[in-house]
Symmetry: C2
């Protein structure tokens, strides 16, 4: 059992390491003489006059630092925005700190600096745009004539009426000066390379940080239809409605679309993601001797029910060796939700482990871990928790009823009480959650 717990943490740490901003940059971007390999492309730096670094996101300062180490004095300058207190000390790139998740004026100033820098860029320059989770809020810039308050009021109305994230992003992109491919337009005719640390299920490039460097698939027409669908044309600020109406009539610039020549010089590359972390965890599990199966990186839904499905798989492995024989490792990613029923302290990862542990009660040779790759699960200092077939019994002996803790969403205190919190400290990254099952 102790070996299982050591192994499961080891496997988690490999998944986590694969999402580390510096690690992700170093894995993907390699300089050899003047040849810079970025993913599956090679750029001959001798052909470029200047190299700039821009970007925004919670991990973007760490990404910039790693890229500085690779490119050193070749870098002409840069402007990168990150969250307050996330800024690292850099040599060539100027770091701007701003508010997240609710944007502030510092975010706007940072974005203006980025656009000013991009304006100076010419055909012979190469720009790296470092994108990571939080990039949308950290790189706010309403189109001319609208204020940050107008944008925020619009988002609030959309949230209130029940619009989905795709619909919200459609409107956001159309009233933003930088989202929905507009950063790529600003960088053109420079060459644009966008290393992306994805915090989005499925890694849709136009969803991560609202896709500042990739083609947009939505239109002013779609935007207006969404306002009409939810009957909020009169509820959003009138300037916003006016802007969208003008756009629909062709009097404001559409977001750039697939096929636009600006994208001929734009190279987005995912350098870290749920999928890459699941792969890293899987490879480590195989090294440790487990038959490993990645279930899905798209897992969503109510945490305790998702946990029961995972527990059902553990039970099946024990009973029949399906879907994979022992020693088995099952890995999943994505992000579940918790419907709050009680007033306890917890997070989706800890609640997942607590709910599964109840179903795992008395099973032998099993271990389960769930952790948020950002190192914080819910409003706590823990990334998640670990459990085995003995967890419920051990807690019971200490007077802790798992069902009661689950009922009041108090998973943090449950695992704190039995010493099974998963502590990682801040990780400066986010590729959602990692769930790992071991069956010896």
């Amino acid at each position: 059992m102790k070996k299982l717990r050591t192994d499961i943490r080891d496997i988690f740490d490999y998944g986590l390491k694969a999402a580390d901003p510096g690690e992700a940059i170093r894995r993907t971007i390699v300089l050899n003489g003047d040849q810079l390999t970025v993913g599956d492309r090679i750029f001959d730096l001798s052909k470029y006059e200047r190299i700039f670094i821009v970007g925004a996101g919670k991990a973007s300062s760490a990404m910039a630092k790693a890229l500085e180490k690779i490119l050193g004095d070749r870098i002409a300058g840069g402007e990168v925005t990150t969250k307050y207190d996330y800024g690292l000390s850099l040599n060539k790139v100027s770091i701007n700190e701003a508010a997240h998740p609710v944007p502030d004026e510092a975010g706007i100033k940072g974005t203006e600096k980025i656009l000013n820098l991009l304006e100076k860029c010419g055909e012979k320059d190469i720009v790296f745009c470092l994108i990571s989770g939080g990039g949308s809020a950290l790189m706010p810039l309403p189109v001319a004539g609208l204020s940050l308050a107008d944008k925020q009021a619009t988002t609030q109305e959309l949230l209130k009426c029940g619009a989905n994230i795709h619909e919200i992003n459609t409107i956001r992109k159309h009233i933003s000066g930088i989202k929905g491919g507009k950063l790529a337009r600003a960088a053109y005719p420079a060459t644009l390379v966008t290393p992306i640390l994805s915090d989005v299920i499925g890694d849709n490039l136009d969803a991560i940080a609202s896709g500042p460097t990739v083609p947009d698939r939505s239109s002013f027409d779609d935007s207006l239809k969404i306002l009409e669908k939810y009957n909020i044309t009169k509820k959003v600020p009138s300037k916003v409605l006016d802007y969208i109406m003008r756009g629909k009539e062709g009097r404001e610039p559409e977001t750039p679309k697939e096929g636009d020549p600006i994208f001929d010089k734009s190279y987005p590359v995912i350098i870290g993601s749920s999928r890459l972390s699941l792969n890293a965890a899987r490879d480590r599990a195989v090294e440790l001797g487990y038959k490993a199966l990645i279930l899905s990186s798209y897992v969503e839904g109510e945490t305790k029910d998702v946990a029961r499905v995972h527990a059902a798989i553990i039970r099946e492995i024990l009973a029949t060796g399906n879907p994979v024989k022992r020693p088995a490792c099952i890995i999943s990613g994505g992000e579940t939700t918790v419907t709050i029923r009680g007033s306890g302290l917890g997070g989706r990862n800890m609640e997942f482990v607590l709910a599964a542990a109840i179903d795992m009660d008395d099973m032998e040779g099993v271990a389960l871990l769930s952790g948020g790759t950002d190192g914080t699960d819910g409003p706590t200092d823990s990334a998640g928790a670990v459990a085995d077939g003995n967890t419920i019994k051990r807690a019971g002996e200490m007077g802790q009823s798992a069902e009661e803790y689950l009922q009041r969403n108090d998973s943090y205190n449950f695992f704190k009480g039995i010493g099974d919190l998963l502590m990682t400290g801040p990780t400066m990254t986010n590729v959602m959650d990692l769930r790992i099952i071991l069956v010896a």
Copy 2:
């Protein structure tokens, strides 16, 4: 797409056929001269004087009919109880019909006939006890001094106070004249063979029909503790409490336990189950060219969230070939629950398909089926439903909003409207649900 739909129904039908009572009997019980093979055991019928058939359950009449065809005139007689309208015409075995799920006096009379028959059996007789889902309600017999009403009132109190199924069964077994191994005790010293069609997750023998022919793991002491735990010692009929108190003091007979010599002559064998049906479906999928994976036969939880996990696996197969490469087939069993939110008509299988279809919208080369193996999903004439990546769009064109139908739990009308109900007619069996995913 049409091929996928043909294949998925084909695979489902194989799973269903494996759970057919007659099919299950014929697969497991084979007569060759005097040698009767039952699973992995062989009985030399020339060594037995008489063969009797008893049993209870919704499928037990069909099981008896198949066994009559095998054993013919060798059968000395028999008493089998099934649900009203489920009785088939038999030659050697007398069929009793009774009420299910709430037991009635006809059930008690049938049980008394079984016990009277078993009393006549001697050391040289062999008895087949045919157990299937519903066997518990169809074979009621309170211990002497208690009435059916006393037993029912006790069950009601246990349900009301939130006791779990394990706790309810503990008490039931102790106030029953036949459950918890007591049928085996009555059959002793005859040889007892118990072919079981399991409708229980995990196929725990002592849970199926309350385990009339297998050792009981609970005690009078446990029974009293359960009444005390839920504070209902005063709420159950006083005769029930008195009986349990007397049992605890050793003045009433305990249920037979593991190691009791009566079980030396008792041979339970699972002839049909979720697991066997999943295996049959898997084998058929492989024949049809799919790489097939059994996820779990233990799937429980809120239907729409379980559906989302299945949809997440489809998405992963499409994106990365995990957990299995295309053409892929994923199979799961067990039984989910539906928290009713609306006043629509539906069942867990149809709701599962509806919820998953929303997540599958626009996916290409995918199909999904979920069906109850008893042929009826919820209070409807449909066993479940089928969907593909085009389902939501097609329904939308007919003015049906999937989200709205799901919100009001109206999955039956949703699939009826688009002609995608899964109709099987009554199947006379139940090994819970079968869910099948195909990704071409």
